[in-house]
């Protein structure tokens, strides 16, 4: 089973991104400049990548084992869209990264999948305290999950990653792998369930399927039956209760935005409430 996500565009986008073929000087070893590609781009374009604690854990592993030069090139790759696609399946992340060769490199990152017995034990442990599912469902990885797993002798985050890349660089992780890891970390920010999915349990399996609420839909009376009052309202609209504005930026607190956007958007939310009182819409007479 594989969870494919992040296939940008309609498929034409990233492949068409390979323009021209400046082959490296020595014919096969990668030259300094990668080919232009329009793949996945890291959202954070500056500073460190990974804004939640659980995605930082992957970055930490990476930054522990990788040398500085490859790290920074990997980050640059992640930001310029060299990673063409990325698939996550239980135990395996595969990605294609556009390097300097015409043919993109294939990156594979393996992780141990928990066995069925382990998972049923973990599921029981998670279910024992509602707070874990509550946090997961609200979109965050509970910090205690890691301790909880550890208490049962299980690592949520691997000490080491089994990394593989089809590039000729001898060193592991190479910049292609680090680029993929950066992007992987960012995707964990958005959906903590992916961490668990990599370990072999999807959100659906863990919690059962969720209902996706759609936009409210209203059944309209056909025009044919509304000819007599074509220009008139179909019903009265109860006046909405006038609610005092909540503390500024409440939405950002209840639903944290992706990446580091919270602090960048906060000024906007602060300006929306309260002070703009002079612009209150006039009531109709």
């Amino acid at each position: 089973m594989a969870w494919a996500w992040w296939h940008p565009g309609a498929g034409a986008g990233h492949r068409a991104g390979v323009v021209g073929v400046p082959v490296g000087k020595d014919g096969w070893f990668e030259a300094g400049k990668p080919l232009k590609a329009d793949g996945l781009r890291a959202r954070t374009q500056r500073g460190s990548i990974g804004s939640t604690w659980w995605s930082r854990r992957f970055i930490d592993i990476l930054e522990r084992v990788c040398d500085k030069g490859r790290l920074s090139r990997g980050r640059a790759y992640a930001r310029t869209g060299q990673v063409l696609d990325l698939d996550l399946a239980p135990g395996l992340v595969t990605a294609r990264v556009q390097g300097s060769r015409r043919e993109p490199y294939t990156v594979e990152i393996r992780i141990e999948v928990y066995g069925e017995a382990v998972w049923s034990m973990l599921e029981r442990v998670i279910a024992e305290q509602a707070v874990h599912r509550a946090r997961l469902l609200a979109g965050e990885m509970p910090t205690e999950i890691e301790e909880l797993f550890a208490a049962h002798g299980i690592d949520l985050f691997p000490r080491d990653l089994d990394l593989d890349c089809s590039c000729p660089d001898w060193s592991r992780p190479c910049k292609h792998v680090s680029a993929v890891l950066y992007l992987l970390a960012e995707s964990f920010d958005d959906d903590p369930f992916l961490v668990l999915a990599w370990r072999g349990r999807s959100k659906e399996e863990l919690l059962g399927s969720m209902e996706e609420p759609g936009a409210p839909v209203v059944e309209d009376v056909p025009f044919g039956e509304r000819l007599a009052d074509f220009y008139s309202p179909g019903a009265g609209v109860p006046r909405p209760e006038l609610r005092p504005p909540p503390p500024a930026g409440l939405l950002l607190r209840v639903h944290p935005p992706p990446g580091d956007l919270a602090h960048r958007l906060r000024p906007a939310y602060e300006a929306l409430g309260g002070k703009a009182g002079e612009e209150e819409p006039a009531e109709l007479v």
Binding site: W6, P8, G13, G17, R41, A42, R43, E128, Q129, A130, V131, R133, A134, R135, L137, A138, D190, G208, S209, M210, E211, P213, A215, V217, D220, V221, E225, L227, A228, D229, F230, Y231, S232, P233, G234, A235, G236, P238, E241, L242, R243, P245, P246, P247, G249, L250, L251, R253, V254, P258, L265, A268, A271, L272, A276, E279, E280, P281, A282, L284
Partner: protein, 925 residues
Amino acid sequence: MPSPETGLLPTTSRPALRPWRVPALLPHPAQTLRLLSETLHLLAESTITATLRHWSAVAAFAHDLVRRGRVIPQLTGESAQPVDMWSIPEATAEARWFPVLTGADAAHFRDLAVAMPPACRTGAEEHPSSAVLTDALATFTDAAVRARLTEPLAVRPKTLEDRWLAALTGPDAACPDIPELRRSLNAWREAAGAEGATQVCFRLVEPPAPTPPATPDLDQEEPWWRVELALQPLDDPSLRVPADQIWSGAPIPGLPPRADHELLAGLGRALRLYPALDQALRTAHPTELLLDTAGAFTFLRQAAPLLHAAGFVVQLPRWAGRSKLGLKLTTRTKKQQAATSQGFGLRQLVDFKVELAVGDATITEAELTELARLKVPLVRVRGQWVELDERQLKAALRAVETRREGELTAAEILQHVIQGDDGELPLVEVDADGVLGDLLSGTADRRLTPIPTPPGLDAVLRPYQERGLAWLSFLSELGLGGVLADDMGLGKTVATLSLLVHEKSGRPTLLVCPMSLIGNWQREAARFAPGLRVHVHHGASRDPAKLTDADLVITTYGTAQRDLDTLKQVAWRRVVCDEAQAIKNSGTLQAQAVRSITAETRLALTGTPVENHLAELWSIMEFCNPGLLGSKQRFRTRFQEPIEARQDAQAEQALKRATGPFVLRRLKTDKSIISDLPEKLEVKEWCTLTPEQASLYQAVVDDMMGKIDGSEGIERRGLVLAAMAKLKQVCNHPAHLLKDGSRLAGRSGKLARTEELAAEILAEGEKGLLFTQYSEYGSMLQPYLAQRLDRPVLWLHGGLPKKTRDRLVERFQHDDEPMLFLLSLKAAGVGLNLTAANHVIHLDRWWNPAVEDQATDRAFRIGQRKNVQVRKLICAGTLEERIDEMIERKKALAERVVGTGEDWLTDLSTAELREVFRLGSGAVA
């Protein structure tokens, strides 16, 4: 088909659908929003159509969402071309703000979609209303955010993300596409909007009262408070499903299938705002959070408001936010004193005592000291929980140091009760005995000895009217002003007249009313109080000399303002403001003028529920008892803001105490009143003509009488009927006769009265039927009234297919919103059951009482549990009044003489007709 606002009548009675090409203007969103929300009221009335009003409601919704921060930024549109790495990315996408619709907002969205007039969603095909509304609301929301954000979010953008942020403000939304950002923003929006069809509820439950029942001292043990967890569907807040039921896993009707996930996800979000919730979620199936008293206080003061603002349902004990420390005033009447009215006078001395109170109980100094020592913010005093804050405790400690007991005059006590608080400590309870107690409790009308119908009043007062007269007379004798705010139909006019007759003061009363009511006052006075000398001070022939010779001087608000200097020179016994909503805006010249006329006592009459319009209440009270409620500013901070913004129960109580003594408002639905009322009350409403109506009327009479004079037989009958029809149309409205689609406002006395009556009905939250025999008049009125009253006005006429009629009737009967149903007399034949209405207004007269009665019976039928009020509008001094008199005179014979049609009128001689049609002197106000 023309839209009703054009004033044009449809040329076809059976319209059908056909494609129609119309020129369209694509306005700029920001300008449109400005037009809809700020300047719409500046437009001419005829251009404000129902569709425009609907968009205005959508715009208001967008503003409200933005004000509350229920918006989320997005990156929309995908790049069509792969971006060239080496060039500056092109701005192929847009940064846009979208609304986040959850909870009550999602419900309001649905209401707006259902209400959308079909004309709003036309196009090559019928667009679904929800799709049209989604687009419009998104457009308005984006424009409203941009209007408010004046500072850019990113200066000198470097990265692509910066460029997106920069494009979120200012007029230009274009920016390069960043697919990853686009997707994660989209996921964010989904998460924020996925609060589902349910809301998580938190209900704070106080610890059980200790057994045995509390001893009078303070309870000091640490009890556990509980916050119960539950889930409730958005569309049915009455269904509150406790968490343990959710965990059972059984499907619950009314809740989505995976209700447990909704509850969990909601709790997960709530954790971010209220971390203490964590301890409750340490079991597999949490049902409640246990809190100690300090924790409960934190929940009350901090978590509850935050959770509520974030869309959670929070239920607090009834006392929360209201049972605070306060003062209690006790007064006791002394014996043997001279009294002026019903054994009471304002200069009378009473004993008084001020104590500290908490809820219903008073506490001693020792208890207070003990409370202060405990240093807990929530304490139970005699079985009742009380929130204490530091400031209040200090104020209370200061207060007990100064013992407050002694003697004051009744007037001073009154002043004290109305002015209320003592800085930090509000006056929470008043215990007064005797007449002063009755006055302060606002129940004087029930305690005073009723005054029977005074000799000279040509009517028999009903028991509630006798009590009303006692109250009016009591306040007058004390020199206090009153507001008589009885429901319409309970007879405020008769009450006022009976007061004048009863009082026989010898000095004149000045009555100020809207022009549309002058005729009515004149006729009612003549009918019920024939002994009163009535003078109308209005129009070109007004004479200052006559003011002092009358018992009752009637004038209009406009004239009062114009002749202020003259009116000020008279020593008035009383000034009465009828339809006192006219002075609701205290700053207007009209209100200032009326206030500046001095009198011994004042009275305001109003049919609108004053307690719902606080700014209005202040202005009216300021007229009745100048200065008593304090300045407008103080009134606003002390009552209006706490009540309107926070539904502060204590402020509401205080306001009731301050105004209760001066406001008498009785509802038709009161048990004590309803038994006094007849089931069907028929009233004639006298209207006046505007000068335009009068001159048109005269022109029609001159023209038609000339023709009738020289004709006979069938031709003559035709002409007479035509003349009558035209005159009745003039009485309705000049535009009704002219059929020129011209403006309606301010040109007809009858229409003005119709509007006032309709507004009163709607303000009382009721429904009314309006009958006219002219469907073209109904077609003119419908859009006009709908717009002026901002409530639904349904219109049933002969041109409607059965299906539509049924839908209208269905809506009128079952929709809870107050509304009007305009019906053409002919179309509203038998078979209609409109018992949701308890008001009937006949806009024009059908000279056959049987037909009118049949129409009236639409509302007055078996199943009607309310009293029905029937009003017939009659233009004074016109054929309407004359024929009404004839019908009255011949009442017994009416059926036979009048027959079923209006034909009997055609048999009148030309001289008789001249008399019937003549424009009387009192016709024009």
